[in-house]
């Protein structure tokens, strides 16, 4: 009798102890045919982590390149060093008063409704010197493709034109591309070309210029050849259509408005807004003051993209993206179709891990309060698109970032 009880007790405890926690099959990250030991990101404000209208540490830590750099550490990446802003604050490029620049926009309740408003930035950030041979983030807010190499005469070196680059340039005469290649990358993310269009588009087509597509193709070829000549592999990102960006479509989101606008090309210099034209987010203040409502107060042309300007933008975007795709294909390197992802986000939206993301201003989750740059979540969506392209091209298994770990617009 006792013998049976012992046997029985033994059997019971064996069952009780047997795998109290379920065994799981682990996911194994792998680098495939690429080498991520020294990942370097080259690009513009998206790569830098500019968000909510300014550059600051919060945005730098949640840029797509920082998220990508972090994920690449699962497959051999050793670090992702950035030229971090030293100040607690942030700084943008809008001069609020002489010598006073904006910091991050924040969402405030103004007269009962939510409104993004700039904070006061810390202009000392632009004077910081954080150059380091260990830097891996060569994202320069405002940089066009054609700013990355030597600038043609009579322009001075780019570090002397753009304080965001001067902060971490190796010398006053350095070039962004030269500095990036001196970091001896084994893998490069190269997402440029946005500002070659945005600088013009954000000025309502009244200032700056679209980079000529032929010049773009030549500069792009040269830059990619320089990157690949070091033995590095790369992933190239293309240029989203401006129609998918809230800065260009938020104001008329509910449809056409019969606004009166300035147009020097017509007799009298003013006319009504035509269907299909775009009013920029930067017009908010002027519209609030009554501009655009009467012939006495027409809305300035710098707040409007007319059909000609939109055509020029659209055809340049198409040409750039064809160039980027063919260069990726010719060189057998990864290509990420960000234009397509932004298209999805701006139409049906993307449902990811329990939330639907869209390009809707403020509430869509993807774009920050400047209407141009991404939130942390938007950056993570972009980083995962880069990861998908890398995995597909290099037969790698780089793990995705968790979108829900990152931030969206903060409501008061």
């Amino acid at each position: 009798m006792k013998r049976y009880i012992y046997k029985y007790a033994l059997l019971l405890s064996a069952v009780a102890l047997w795998s109290c926690e379920p065994n799981t099959d682990d996911f194994n990250p792998s680098k495939g045919s690429a080498d991520f030991t020294n990942f370097v990101a080259i690009g513009d404000s998206y790569t830098a982590g500019y968000t909510d209208g300014a550059l600051g540490r919060r945005g730098q830590e949640e840029s797509f390149s920082a998220i990508l750099g972090k994920q690449l550490m699962y497959v051999g990446g050793t670090s992702y060093n950035q030229p971090f802003v030293q100040s607690e604050s942030s700084v943008g490029s809008m001069e609020l008063q002489p010598g006073v620049y904006n910091g991050y926009y924040e969402l405030n309740i103004v007269e009962g409704s939510l409104k993004p408003q700039p904070t006061i930035g810390d202009v000392a950030i632009l004077g910081e010197q954080v150059s380091s041979p260990d830097n891996q983030n060569f994202g320069v807010p405002g940089a066009k493709l054609i700013h990355l190499g030597e600038l043609p005469a009579p322009y001075p070196p780019y570090a002397q034109l753009n304080p965001f680059y001067a902060r971490f340039a190796s010398s006053p005469d350095a070039t962004v591309l030269g500095d990036a290649l001196a970091a001896e990358p084994s893998f490069v993310s190269f997402w440029v070309g946005n500002n070659d269009i945005l600088a013009y588009a954000m000025a309502g087509g009244e200032a700056d210029a679209i980079t000529d597509p032929a010049m773009f193709a030549a500069a792009y070829t040269q830059a990619v050849n320089a990157i690949l000549s070091t033995g590095s592999k790369a992933v190239l990102g293309n240029v989203p259509a401006i129609e998918t960006i809230p800065f260009f479509n938020h104001i008329l989101k509910d449809g056409h408005l019969p606004l009166v606008i300035v147009d020097d090309a017509v007799p009298g210099g003013i006319r009504q807004l035509v269907e299909g034209e775009k009013i920029l987010l930067s017009a908010s203040t002027a519209l609030g003051m009554g501009y655009g409502q009467s012939v006495e107060m027409p809305l300035g042309a710098e707040y409007v993209l007319d059909l000609n300007e939109l055509n020029a933008i659209s055809s340049a975007t198409t040409a750039y993206n064809a160039t980027i795709k063919s260069i990726a294909d010719e060189n057998g390197i990864a290509h990420v179709d960000l234009a397509k992802i932004m298209e999805q986000l701006s139409t049906s939206g993307l449902i990811i891990d329990g939330n639907r993301y869209t390009t809707t201003f403020v509430s869509g989750g993807v774009f920050s309060l400047d209407g141009i740059h991404a939130t942390g979540r938007g950056s993570a969506i972009i980083a995962n698109a880069f990861i998908d392209a890398i995995n597909a091209k290099y037969d790698a298994q780089v793990p995705h970032a968790n979108i829900n770990d990152y931030n969206m617009v903060e409501f008061p």
Binding site: L12, V15, S19, F27, I351, D353, G354, I387, N402, E410
Partner: protein, 405 residues
């Protein structure tokens, strides 16, 4: 008797999912030891749950049975590749219990009361886990109070009918994808209500060795008319998300069980049950909020009817001691692409052992140990695009006491 006191103390704690869907099949420790078979057996007062038709066959004037189980369950979620994300739930221990008391009114009629917890779910994934917009934690429990009358037509055939009053309680938390200074907004949904149903059974001693039973437990639609929805949102959105009432309903599905018992010899009893569960009643989980600014929530479920296959055996070592063992296969009602972390169901295999001990001619004890292995399931919920691999298991010791005189 100290152990009995312990169980009474645990009764008020939460209850725990661990059959498929949100069903909990742990309504008798003798039956649990035998793979939770029992529809075709004569098991005294606990027949009120398994087959009220068998209640008429109790042989003493009074028959009481009560007990409970401790559910130690584990759920692990591994996010869809490529991802290194893994989450383990921190489930509170589940404590389903049962109480049965029956008396023979005369030779033909028996009357009893059953209190059971055949449905429940308690899962805690955490406030900040990756599926927080689907569910953070949920506690669902139902207590069935069932007065039962049984009539023994003759020495072979018995009928029984029970009326079920069900108290249902739900409390769940989920995050909302809006952020303020303190992170995500959140919603707390809670409510308590009563609902009613019935069960019926027929029990038949076909030969000296073979017994048969068929039991039917009706669907109980738990309709919550005045649930409480409390929102924690940034102050700028507080006007849109006031604390409000909501309506929702959740079915406790129909169960139809056919059971066989076969007394091989004096020592060995074999049992088999086929349990049909009408899960297709659970089409959708919808919350209709009273406040017009709070959007109603529609969540597709579309569960499918399932079968549970059970086998059990009891071996009487001597007059006092019985060993039991059983096994069952419980298929999941949750279709592909509709698997949520709130009810992460999967096909399950249950393996049980049991021990019976007759202390004297009035008092006996039953102990059981059930191990449930959930098949790994790689799936997710398409409407919110949350996919991964779910793993689950549970170890469930239970103890019960029977007293008859």
């Amino acid at each position: 008797m100290k152990r009995i006191g312990l169980f009474c103390g645990l009764v008020m704690l939460s209850f725990q999912l661990f059959a498929e869907g949100y069903q909990v099949n742990l309504q008798g420790n003798r039956q649990t030891g035998m793979g939770h078979t029992g529809a075709g057996l004569f098991m005294g007062a606990s027949s009120m749950h398994f087959n009220p038709g068998a209640l008429g066959f109790i042989d003493k004037k009074y028959d009481f049975s009560f007990g409970g189980s401790m559910i130690f369950s584990n759920n692990t979620f591994q996010k869809q590749a490529p991802s290194t994300y893994e989450a383990k739930s921190d489930n509170p221990m589940g404590t389903p219990f049962y109480f049965y008391g029956a008396t023979k009114l005369n030779d033909k009629l028996a009357l009893g009361l059953a209190v059971t917890t055949p449905y429940g779910n308690s899962l805690k994934w955490g406030d900040d886990w990756d599926g927080k917009y689907l569910i953070q934690d949920i506690s669902l429990r139902a207590i069935f109070i069932q007065p039962t009358l049984a009539y023994k037509i003759n020495d072979k055939l018995g009928l029984g009918l029970g009326f079920m009053a069900v108290n249902g309680n739900v409390d769940l938390n989920k995050a909302l994808p809006v952020q303020g200074a303190n992170g995500d907004a959140s919603a707390n949904i809670s409510g308590n209500t009563w609902a009613f149903g019935f069960n019926a059974g027929i029990s038949y001693q076909a030969t000296d060795k073979l017994s048969l039973g068929l039991s039917y437990r009706s669907e109980v639609m738990v309709e919550l008319d005045e649930g409480d929805a409390d929102f924690t949102v940034p102050s700028s959105l507080a006007g849109l998300y006031p604390d409000t009432k909501f309506q929702a309903e959740l079915p406790m599905p129909t169960n139809i069980t056919f059971g066989l018992g076969y007394q091989v010899n004096d020592k060995l009893l074999l049992a088999a049950d086929l349990q049909y569960v009408g899960w297709s009643a659970y089409e959708s989980l919808d919350f209709d909020f009273e406040a017009p600014t709070v959007p109603d929530s529609r969540n597709q479920r579309d569960f499918e009817n399932t079968m549970i296959y059970r086998l059990g055996a009891e071996y009487a070592l001597n007059e006092k001691v019985q060993f039991r063992a059983g096994v069952y296969y419980d298929s999941t009602p949750i279709p592909e692409d509709l698997l949520t972390p709130e009810t992460p169901g999967t096909d399950k295999i249950g393996m049980s052992l049991g021990l019976g001990y007759q202390i004297n001619d009035k008092l006996s004890l039953d102990a059981s140990l059930l191990y449930i292995h959930g098949m790994k399931r790689e799936d997710g919920y398409a409407p919110t695009n949350f996919y991964g691999t779910y793993y689950s298991n549970a170890v469930i010791p239970g103890i019960g006491v029977n007293y008859s005189f």
